[in-house]
């Protein structure tokens, strides 16, 4: 039996320990804000926080997250009003929107450890999350607006 906390709630799992966390979130808990994009940790659409760090839930197995605290987009802020969520809306970042939970979770993890990242630090953090619609310019503006740079 694997036990872990997801968005502050205790959860249990007794299935295949090789199952990536993504599918537990989506199929078992109906936390569908976390998206499947590649299954190989290459695109970042599935990004969640594992003990505060951004990770790709499509490649982290259930066995590996036993005893951990996981935060998904649904748990980032109780009201859905994390400063990055507000900034994302203000800058009207999303086009199709599919990758944006992953983008926000990645950016939130960055700002939690480095509240004033420079351009290079932002690039290093955000490079792993692909947006095929090409919203990068607005992602940049939204992050910088929260980090206190130019908006």
């Amino acid at each position: 039996m694997i036990e872990l906390k997801i968005n502050g709630e205790s959860r249990q799992f007794d299935g295949d320990g090789d199952m990536p966390l993504l599918w537990f979130l989506r199929d078992e808990l109906a936390l569908t804000g976390t998206k499947y994009g590649c299954g190989k940790g290459l695109c970042g659409s599935c990004t969640v926080h594992l003990n505060g760090q951004a990770v790709r839930s499509c490649v982290i197995t259930m066995s590996a997250v036993s005893g951990s605290e996981v935060t998904t987009i649904e748990g980032l802020d109780a009201e859905g009003r994390h400063p990055l969520q507000i900034a994302w809306a203000k800058h009207d970042v999303p086009q199709c929107g599919y990758c944006q939970a992953g983008q926000i979770m990645q950016a939130a993890s960055l700002l939690a450890t480095n509240p004033k990242p420079d351009g290079e630090a932002i690039s290093d953090a955000m490079r792993g999350v692909i947006c095929r619609c090409g919203t990068y310019q607005r992602i940049e503006s939204a992050i910088k607006s929260v980090a206190g740079g130019e908006a």
């Binding site: 299935g15 295949d16 090789d18 199952m19 990536p20 599918w23 989506r26 199929d27 078992e28 109906a30 936390l31 569908t32 804000g33 976390t34 998206k35 499947y36 994009g37 590649c38 299954g39 190989k40 290459l42 695109c43 659409s45 998904t72 987009i73 649904e74 859905g80 969520q85 994302w88 809306a89 009207d92 970042v93 999303p94 086009q95 199709c96 929107g97 599919y98 990758c99 944006q100 939970a101 926000i104 932002i122 690039s123 955000m126 490079r127 792993g128 999350v129 692909i130 947006c131 095929r132 619609c133 090409g134 919203t135 990068y136 310019q137 607005r138 992602i139 940049e140």
Partner: protein, 770 residues
């Protein structure tokens, strides 16, 4: 064949073909319906409204509650509009939302004309239903086709509210005007909310289209302004519903091993290992695909499980022996030679003005160049996914789909159910770019649900989509220009060859069709005396599909890079050369190329010149640049719009290049939603940049060689340029914005690289180093 194609043809093709049979939706009339035309049906009035002037394409049912049925019922004065008793306005978005913002933009047009307060508007996604007219979302056609219809819908409801106000105050309707969800009686200053008038308005007849007073541009409340997307808050909170977010009681999860080569078949398979995976319930073989592949299931072997992971894991454990069939001889390297051979000899002339051969014979110099562009894949973030629930009573589908109505006959055929028993629910698309207009993944879900007797969701992995997609075609082009002794361009010859999209509907189709050639090649707007366009023939060995901007991507690349080469050969500035070739402002008759002159959308070369000049001005053409930097320019008319790009490239000493800045200009007539229109151009720059840096899908022995984002690469954060977008401000009929921005980008970038380095690139992708 024409009937077959019309049913299955791509969105842009279907529109053109349908236009031959009827007058088209954009000439829709909202017919004045007298009381006796109302059919009482259980307290609901059903009004027949012809969406097509010719009436051949069927009628649209409009329901309205009768005036005497009480004011608590919602009132539906138009198929797209319902007004609740509390004044809430529900507007149907019947097109597919895939990131382009149409779910916001078209409803905003309705709201604007009806003077609805956007805060009191609820936008609802339609199901797939012919009563909404065309729902096949592609070809940048949504606004072109439905702008006028939406304005008329809004204006007719506004007129009815104004009439209701007049009745309410026993006043002259000329003194009553709707204003932000109220009707105001001018002389008395009295006003009433829509909620107070809905019971009166609902008893009125729909005014005739020719009696409607549409707003003038200065009266627009939302059109041309910036509106936030209706799903924005849900998206940033992770609540928006995409294809895989639909859950049904008892739903099964499926993953499919598809034939690695198109039209391959299962020879034999062993599912023992797959069945040993916990959670796996069944293994089902799907019938093999047959030509034409159209939008049908590719066949293969499906694993049905009680969760996604078990299905995907077990699918990979299937041991299958394939019969790869005749497409197993497809090798991209060899096919490139076949394409180049095809354009190195005369093809079938599809445009021939003047006498190119004579111009070449008399020329001081004949410039020649060859261009090549590979297959591309859509690579939308959400891979194909669909859920279907088939019972004896009906079939319900939930899918991200650009073409919901195409799924109805498909599901009817698989299930044996009548079309009216098929319901298609449209989720948001996590990107589409043309891929989700082809419902092979839905066909799979319907077949499997019918087979297992439970709701089934089919989830494609990323590798599934990279290896079993519908690919943007692969092309070769040979361009030649005759220059006389004064340096004037006297002749232009363009030979091209590529597998046609129509091959998925007709396996015999081997050469590009007018709809494909019309995306840049046929429509070459240069004022050159002798112009010839020739097409060659090559077979299609994978499924060819339209991808955002379609053939304009490579045709614009060939034309605009060759134009830059002409400039260099003439010793002229590329901007000056481009404007000179474009010649005097004039209207180009598209019927002379076998195309259609769309009403309200003539091809005006002056508008192309306009975006070129705007791009040059905003991009600082001719300015001093740092060492290693270069500027390139390109322009393209496509999807009834005009677009230009000025790209600045920075090349480092080791040959690595980046794009610090790009200026995108567009003339699409009246901009509907400025914020989303800008976003589309920002995205177009990124997509164009990705095509130049990475875009390439290749086949070996009929199998696609790439599999995931590691080798089918797209642009990542940090590689993005500073993108500035400028629209030509006018109030002409609105045209496409989703696709026109992409085509000029790649050639402008290639031209910028030449300006910076003197190296000419004629093949895509260029890669990360030059």
């Amino acid at each position: 064949m024409s009937g077959h194609i019309q049913n299955l043809a791509p969105p842009f093709a279907r529109k053109a073909l349908a236009a031959e049979l009827s007058r088209g939706v954009d000439q829709a009339v909202v017919r004045n319906v007298s009381r006796r035309d109302f059919l009482k049906a259980g307290g609901v009035l059903v009004v027949g409204v012809s969406l097509y002037a010719g009436g051949a394409a069927g009628t649209v049912a409009r329901a309205a509650t009768s005036g005497d049925s009480g004011q608590s019922d919602p009132w539906t004065p138009d198929v797209y509009v319902t007004v609740e008793a509390d004044g809430t306005v529900r507007i149907i978005s019947h097109r597919c939302e895939m990131g382009q913002g149409i779910k916001t933009s078209l409803p905003a047009v309705v709201a604007d004309e009806m003077e609805a307060d956007w805060e009191r508007v609820v936008v609802e996604q339609a199901t797939g239903d012919k009563k909404y007219g065309d729902q096949s979302t592609g070809g940048s056609l949504s606004v072109i086709t439905f702008y006028q219809r939406m304005r008329e819908a809004g204006a007719s409801v506004r007129a009815m509210f104004e009439q209701a106000g007049a009745q309410h105050w026993e006043a002259d309707v000329a003194d009553c005007r709707a204003e932000n969800h109220r009707v105001v009686h001018g002389p008395s200053g009295k006003s009433a909310d829509f909620a107070e008038l809905v019971h009166i308005a609902s008893a009125l007849s729909v005014p005739a289209a020719d009696q409607l007073k549409l707003k003038t541009p200065e009266q627009y409340r939302y059109i041309g302004k910036e509106l936030r997307g209706v799903d924005l808050e849900d998206i940033v909170q992770g609540k928006a519903v995409y294809g895989a977010d639909v859950r049904l009681p008892g739903m099964k999860y499926a993953a499919i091993a598809r034939p690695p080569v198109v039209l391959g078949k299962v020879k034999s398979f062993n599912a023992d290992k797959a069945k040993a995976v916990a959670g796996v319930e069944r293994v089902v073989e799907l019938p093999a695909a047959q030509a034409p592949v159209a939008y049908k299931s590719l066949g293969g072997v499906a694993v049905i499980a009680n969760n996604s992971w078990a299905a995907l894991k077990a699918r990979d454990l299937l041991e299958i022996e394939w019969d790869n069939g005749t497409n197993a001889d497809y090798n991209s390297e060899a096919f490139k030679e076949e394409l180049l051979n095809a354009v190195r000899q005369p093809g079938e002339a599809v445009r021939d003005e003047g006498d190119f051969d004579a111009a070449a014979a008399d020329a001081d110099k004949v410039l020649e160049a060859e261009y090549y562009a590979p297959h591309l894949n859509h690579m939308m973030m959400e891979p194909p996914v669909a859920t279907a629930s088939v019972t004896a009573e009906g079939c319900e589908i939930w899918a991200p789909t650009q073409d919901p109505q195409s799924l109805i006959p498909m599901a009817a055929e698989v299930t044996g159910l009548p079309p009216e028993k098929i319901r298609v629910n449209m989720t948001l698309c996590g990107g589409a770019f043309g891929r989700k207009g082809k419902g092979d993944y839905v066909d799979e879900a319907v077949r499997l649900s019918k087979e297992v007797g439970a709701p089934v969701r089919v989830q494609w992995s990323r590798e599934d989509e990279v290896r079993h997609g519908y690919y943007h075609t692969v092309s070769a082009q040979h361009l030649a220009a005759a220059l006389d002794d004064k340096g004037q361009v006297t002749g232009w010859r363009h030979r091209l060859a590529y597998p046609t999209i129509f091959s998925i509907f007709n396996p015999e189709a081997t050469s590009p069709q007018t709809l494909e050639l019309g995306l840049g090649a046929l429509t070459l707007p240069y004022a050159i005396d002798s112009i010839r366009l020739e097409k060659g023939g090559v077979p299609a060995k994978v499924r060819i599909g339209w991808l955002r901007s379609v053939c304009a991507i490579f045709q614009s690349f060939g034309i605009n890079v060759f134009t830059d080469e002409i400039a260099r050969a003439r010793g002229k500035d590329p901007l000056e050369n481009l404007l000179e070739l474009l010649g005097p402002d004039r209207t180009i008759d598209l019927t002379s190329f076998g195309m259609e002159n769309k009403e309200g959308h003539p091809f005006e070369t002056g508008r192309l010149r306009g975006v070129i000049e705007l791009a040059a001005e905003k991009g600082g053409w001719g300015r001093e640049l740092p060492a290693g930097h270069g500027l390139g320019i390109a322009a393209q008319y496509s999807f009834d719009s005009y677009a230009a790009s000025v790209v600045e490239v920075a090349v480092s000493e080791d040959g690595r290049w980046s794009v610090p800045r790009v200026v995108m200009t567009v003339d699409c007539g009246q901009v509907v939603n400025l914020d989303r229109a800008v976003a589309q151009q920002e995205g177009a720059a990124i997509m164009g940049l990705g095509f130049v840096r990475h875009g390439r899908i290749t086949a070996k022995d009929g199998r696609i060689e790439q599999g995931n984002f590691n080798n089918a690469r797209v642009m990542r954060y940090g590689e993005h340029p500073k993108t500035e977008v400028h629209f030509v401000q006018n109030h002409l009929a609105p045209s496409g914005i989703g696709e026109p921005g992409v085509p000029p980008f790649a050639p402008a970038l290639a031209n910028a690289i030449f300006a910076a380095t003197g190296k000419r690139f004629r093949e895509l992708p260029i890669g990360s180093k030059v």
